[in-house]
């Protein structure tokens, strides 16, 4: 039995679609952010798997994943700062109660 590229892409698909499900159904902003992290992680895993199985002599997938991790960290920090600020203003983190900047 061989571990080919397909084997690594299947958990990645499940992870991405679980993230999509959470992003559609959740109402808490922090839970939305958790779903977003799931989707980002599955994309990162795909970059690394394609790098290893299709171009084993190069490093572009790894470098791109490193940059993606750095940007995801920055994005999460800013998003959490915004969420805490919203919580101070309106007292909860429900997306349905943030309407001031909607229109």
């Amino acid at each position: 039995m061989d571990l080919t590229m397909l084997w690594y892409l299947v958990p990645s698909i499940i992870m991405f679609c679980a993230g999509v499900f959470g992003f559609v159904t959740r109402k808490n902003m922090i839970a939305l952010l958790l779903s977003l992290e799931l989707m980002l992680n599955s994309a990162d895993l795909n970059f690394v798997v394609f790098n290893r199985f299709l171009f084993p002599g190069q490093f572009e997938g790894m470098v791109f994943t490193l940059f993606a991790i750095a940007i995801a960290a920055a994005e999460t920090a800013i998003a959490i700062a915004i969420i805490i600020n919203i919580y101070r203003e309106i007292g909860n983190t429900d997306i349905n109660s943030v309407k001031k900047m909607k229109f």
Binding site: M1, I14, V20, T25, A31, I80, R88
Partner: protein, 175 residues
């Protein structure tokens, strides 16, 4: 032919990823969801180690499982009581979510199994086909200016992180 240890490790990690990522989005307690996400991130780190990218696995565990999860746990504890439960989903929203997720899985799986790129190389073959990723190579990748070297994006990331620090302080500061 891959070793039995590699195959067993693959199955343990893959099942952990699938189970915990589904539990992350279905758990009603947000702190538990964050903990399940931590397990998913650690499992993905194990995949990076298995694929031969030790530095990437270490970064995944240090930045994601270490840094980002601490941010998540702190923000959860700051914004709600830990025993709060999310309300049950209304059937309309849940139907939309399940439809989108199942359609996505079906579409992506169909695309995956008809993909012409797959030539069936096994993990062991690929690991021996490429050079070992050494720290020296990674350092040269990030500090060189030649083709396939990334000094400019590296510096851009440092400016981005600085902007992120300032932005975080400005946004979250009490006025």
């Amino acid at each position: 032919m891959d070793s039995v240890a590699n195959i067993i490790l693959y199955f343990v990690v893959a099942i952990a990823i699938i189970v915990f990522s589904v539990m992350t989005v279905t758990s009603r307690k947000i702190l538990r969801a964050a903990t399940y996400l931590l397990f998913v991130l650690l499992a993905v780190g194990v995949f990076y180690f298995q694929l031969g990218y030790q530095f990437l696995g270490a970064v995944q565990i240090a930045v994601y499982a270490g840094g980002i999860m601490v941010l998540f746990v702190f923000s959860i504890l700051l914004t709600r009581r830990p025993d709060d439960k999310a309300p049950l989903l209304d059937s309309h929203r849940r139907a939309i979510g399940i439809t989108v997720a199942v359609a996505g899985v079906a579409l992506l799986t169909g695309a995956l199994f008809t993909m012409p790129l797959i030539d069936g190389m096994s993990l062991t073959q690929c690991l021996s086909a490429g050079p070992e990723v050494t720290m020296k190579q990674i350092g040269e990748l990030f500090t060189g200016t030649a083709r396939f070297q990334y000094l400019l994006p590296f510096e851009a990331i440092s400016v981005l992180l600085l902007a992120c620090i300032i932005g975080g302080v400005t946004v979250a500061r009490k006025r």
